[in-house]
């Protein structure tokens, strides 16, 4: 009996790891677009779910694939696109809710790409949360 409980816990832990996060924070659909060598920068998108009853904040990101990885937001106003870093508070992931990083909105801006970003490549990104701490996720390079 005890052995099976331990086994179950191990399986759960592995599942949690495979989902790319602790049970408190789950990150899914992490991706970036293939981009040419001539493009200095790239962007990563993902969905972050907060399973706790307290809001958390994504405050920092880093990746070996990027010289620097910053949190930015694209904004469209009257057809004019601008892009700005998010404030020091980072990106809020509401209690029991999710934050969506998507095309034309919030994204991880991968400044000074260190790699090719070819379709099928995968890159690790470390997401630093205010409460949950670091969460390592894997981004897949794919078309949309």
């Amino acid at each position: 009996m005890r052995r099976s409980i331990v086994g179950l816990l191990v399986v759960l832990a592995l599942l949690a790891a495979a989902c790319g996060g602790s049970a408190d924070i789950e990150v899914s659909d992490v991706w970036g677009r293939p981009s040419p060598a001539a493009a200095t920068n790239g962007a990563f998108y993902m969905v972050i779910s907060n399973n706790t009853d307290a809001a958390d904040h994504l405050v920092e990101t880093s990746s070996d694939a990027c010289g620097v990885a910053e949190l930015h937001e694209s904004m469209m106003s009257d057809g004019v696109m601008s892009m700005n870093p998010v404030g020091a508070a980072g990106i809020e992931v509401p209690a029991g809710g999710e934050a969506v990083l998507e095309v034309g909105g919030l994204h991880v801006m991968c400044i000074d790409k260190q790699a090719g970003f070819e379709e099928g490549d995968t890159y690790e990104i470390t997401l630093e949360f205010e409460k949950a701490g670091p969460v390592v996720v894997e981004a897949e390079i794919k078309e949309g």
Binding site: P34, S35, P36, A38, A39, T40, M81, S82, N84, E143
Partner: protein, 215 residues
């Protein structure tokens, strides 16, 4: 010893054959239906995904540099020309736009796609020379053309087409970031700026607009 029950096969009627003559009647009906559906669709006004500019404004000609020599808008006379102003440093909106247009062109027949030319003009000539623009756009589609020029040349072309751009602050890591009009202008085959496609139109919508403009 018990009696083994015998399973009696129910008397099913033999499967009915549909007489050939029914097919002879049905086929012309199906064909007539398809012809009607096609004609009906064609007769419906096309719902543009982009915004149609009422009152044709002739697209002013200009010449800028590509990595394969100077390129003028008039080089593509008779084609649909899609014009996009952006910059290669842009990680989100610009590559998404080019990727969506490339996907839309793949949805067209080859002879239709040949009638469409995408031109991307940098609004960040300090970072984007003609060589970088060429490498950048051909990643999305080998027929895309990327253009650069001097600050003055870019400024005057942008003004001709009502394109706004400005260098914004950015961060220590990024340096300045550009704000810019992110719409795609479509010049029709008569040389008029006819449709403005805003950011976020799905490739299906772009392809449908192009197909309609090619009719």
């Amino acid at each position: 010893m018990t009696d083994t029950p015998t399973i009696e096969e129910p008397d099913l009627p033999p499967p009915r054959r549909i007489p050939w003559r029914y097919a002879l009647i049905a086929l012309p009906l199906v064909v007539a239906g398809l012809v009607f559906w096609w004609g009906y669709n064609r007769s419906q006004p096309h719902q543009f995904s982009g915004a149609v500019i009422q009152g044709a404004a002739a697209a002013p000609d200009f010449t800028l540099d590509s990595d394969r020599g100077p390129v003028s808008l008039s080089d593509y006379e008779g084609k649909l020309v899609m014009m996009y102003f952006g910059y290669t440093f842009c990680p989100d909106v610009c590559p998404t736009t080019l990727s969506d247009i490339a996907t839309a062109l793949e949805m067209l027949d080859d002879d239709e796609a040949e009638q469409v030319q995408l031109i991307m003009v940098t609004i960040d000539p300090a970072r984007d020379d003609a060589a970088r623009m060429g490498d950048y756009v051909r990643h999305f589609d080998e027929n895309f053309v990327g253009l650069s020029g001097s600050d003055e040349e870019i400024g005057s072309v942008a003004t001709l087409y009502g394109i706004y751009y400005r260098a914004g602050e950015g961060t220590e890591a990024t340096g300045y970031l550009m704000e810019h009009t992110a719409t795609v202008l479509v010049v029709d085959r008569a040389g008029n700026v006819k449709v403005v496609i805003p950011f976020g139109v799905e490739p299906e919508g772009i392809a449908a607009d192009l197909e309609y403009m090619l009719r």
